[in-house]
Symmetry: C2
Subunit: 248 residues, 2 copies
DNA sequence: CATAGCCTGATTGTCGGACACTACGACTGT
DNA sequence: ACAGTCGTAGTGTCCGACAATCAGGCTATG
C-alpha cells in the first residue's frame, strides 16, 4: 500500500521566527518601508534569545523580506525583481549555459517585449528610449559603454511593455547574453554600426505604433547578434567563463 | 558629470565567511556532496566564534550552497533550478501578476519548447510523453489530476527540448498559469476534451518531427486556454488569490 | 526659522561560555 | 552478518558582555 510518509519537518525556533514575520508581511499587517523593532525587542516579543532572532532575520534578509541599509535600520520590504534576477543569473552562470540556449530564448522574448511596448509605452517613455539610443550613438567605439547602453535599451523596452512576468523572466537572460557581447564585438568590429541602425529601426517602429514591424526588427536584431556569435565560433560556448565573477 | 559612488559595503565577518566558502564551491575545490567540517571546527579555522560561523552558514543554506539533511550533516551543494522556480513563483504570486501577463509570455515559451523538443527529444522521451498523455486521457473528469498531468506534460516537453535557460524561465510561469486552471475549468467543462485533443496534436507533431506543426499546435493550445480565461472574465485577475499559500 | 554640526545613548556585530538533547558511529552479543 | 546498545561529539538554544558605530535629538549659527 502507499504509506504517506510526510517529510515531517522539525521547526526550529529561528525558522519559526522567520516564518512568522514573513507571514505578517505577506498578510499585509507589516507594510513595506515600515521600521521593524530592534533585535532585543523582537527577542523579547518571541520569547527567545537575540541569537535566535538574529538567525531568523538573516534568513528573511536573504529572502529579501527585510532590508538593512545600515545595521541600525531594519525595514520591511517585498522581494524585488532584481533580487531574483541576480540569483537566476548566478545559477545560469554556474550551469554554464551556452550562447545557443540564451539566444534561442531571447529570440522570443525580445520581439514580444517590442510588441508589448508598442501597445503600452507612453510618449514620455518613448522619448526616454530615444534618449538612451542617442547616448548609444554617441558611445560608438566604446565597448563597455555600448554593452551597458545596449542592455539598458532592451530593458527599457521590456519595462515599457508593462508585463511583469516577461520582465522577471527576461532580465537575467538578457543580461547574460548581452554581457557576452564583450566576447563578440572584438572579432566583429562593424557591429557598432549595425547595432545602431537596428536599435533605430526598433525605436521608429515603436514610435509609429507598428507592433508587427517592431517585433520584426527586434527579431532581426537578435538574429544579427547570432551571426556574430557564429563568426566567433562560440555557439555552444558557455556565456560566462568563470562563475566566480558574480559574487553578490 | 557621473561620479561613480559605489555602495561601499562593509564586509562583516559572517559575510566574509559565507563568501569564502561560496567561492571555494564555485571554484571547484569543494565538490557537491562533500561533507563540511562542523561549526566548531570551521570557527577555529576562520578564527571567529561559532555564532559568527552560524550566521554565515544560514546564508549559504538559504542560497542553496549547503544542504542540511539532519543537523549533523552539512553537505556542499550547487543551487538547484527548482529552488529558483519556487522563489520566482512566490515573487510573482505576491506581485499579483495577472492571467494576461502570464498568458502573453506562455504564448511564446510553449511553442518554442515544442519546437525544441521536436529537434532534441529522443524516442524514449517521446514514449514517456505518450505515457503522460495516456494518463491524462484516463483522468478525464478529475480536476486536480488533470491540472497536475497537464503541468507535467508541458514540463516534459520543455525538458526534452534541452534548453536549460528556457526551462528555468518557463517553469514558474507555467506552474502559475496552469494552476490557474483550477479556477477556469469549472466554468468551461468541455475543456477536458479540448485539452486532450490539443495535447494529442502536439504529441503527434513531435513524433513526426514536424517543428512548425508542433509549434503551431502548442500556440493554438495556449490560445484556447485564453478563450477559457476570457469566458470566465478573469483576463486581468491575479492568478493567485492569496500569496500566503506559498509558505516554503 | 532653517540648516549644519555635535553628542549621547541605544543597538549592533562579535565574542566566550554553557547546557540539554539527539543522531552518528563504534561496540557488543548472538 | 546482523540487530541492539551506548558513548560521544556536535547542534540548537541560551546567557551575559564589550567595543564600535550609527540614529535621533540637541545646540549653535546664519
Amino acid at each position: 500500500m502507499s504509506l504517506h510518509a510526510e517529510p515531517l519537518k522539525v521547526n526550529y525556533a529561528y525558522q519559526q521566527i522567520a516564518d512568522r514575520i514573513q507571514e505578517q508581511i505577506l498578510e499585509g499587517s507589516l507594510k513595506p518601508g515600515e521600521k521593524l523593532p530592534g533585535e532585543m525587542e523582537l527577542a523579547q516579543m518571541f520569547g527567545v534569545t537575540r541569537s535566535t532572532v538574529r538567525e531568523g532575520l538573516r534568513q528573511l534578509e536573504q529572502d529579501g523580506f527585510v532590508f538593512r541599509p545600515s545595521p541600525r535600520r531594519l525595514e520591511v520590504r517585498l522581494p524585488a525583481a532584481d533580487q531574483l534576477s541576480s540569483r537566476a543569473g548566478r545559477a545560469m552562470a554556474l550551469m554554464k549555459v551556452t550562447f545557443r540556449e540564451l539566444w534561442q530564448v531571447t529570440m522570443e522574448t525580445e520581439p514580444l517585449a517590442a510588441k508589448l511596448a508598442v501597445q503600452r509605452a507612453t510618449e514620455a517613455e518613448i522619448a526616454e528610449l530615444q534618449c538612451i539610443h542617442d547616448r548609444l550613438v554617441a558611445a560608438k567605439g566604446d565597448l563597455d559603454r555600448t554593452v551597458q547602453l545596449d542592455t539598458q535599451f532592451h530593458s527599457a523596452i521590456a519595462e515599457y511593455g508593462k508585463n511583469r512576468v516577461l520582465n522577471l523572466a527576461r532580465e537575467p537572460i538578457a543580461l547574460l547574453l548581452f554581457q557576452g557581447l564583450t566576447q563578440i564585438v572584438q572579432p566583429v568590429p562593424q557591429s557598432y554600426a549595425r547595432q545602431i541602425t537596428a536599435h533605430g529601426n526598433i525605436l521608429n517602429a515603436i514610435r509609429d505604433r507598428d507592433a508587427d514591424l517592431a517585433s520584426f526588427w527586434a527579431r532581426k536584431h537578435i538574429q544579427d547578434f547570432w551571426r556574430g556569435v557564429c563568426i566567433a565560433g562560440l555557439e555552444d560556448a558557455p556565456a560566462i567563463k568563470n562563475p566566480k565573477s558574480l559574487t553578490t
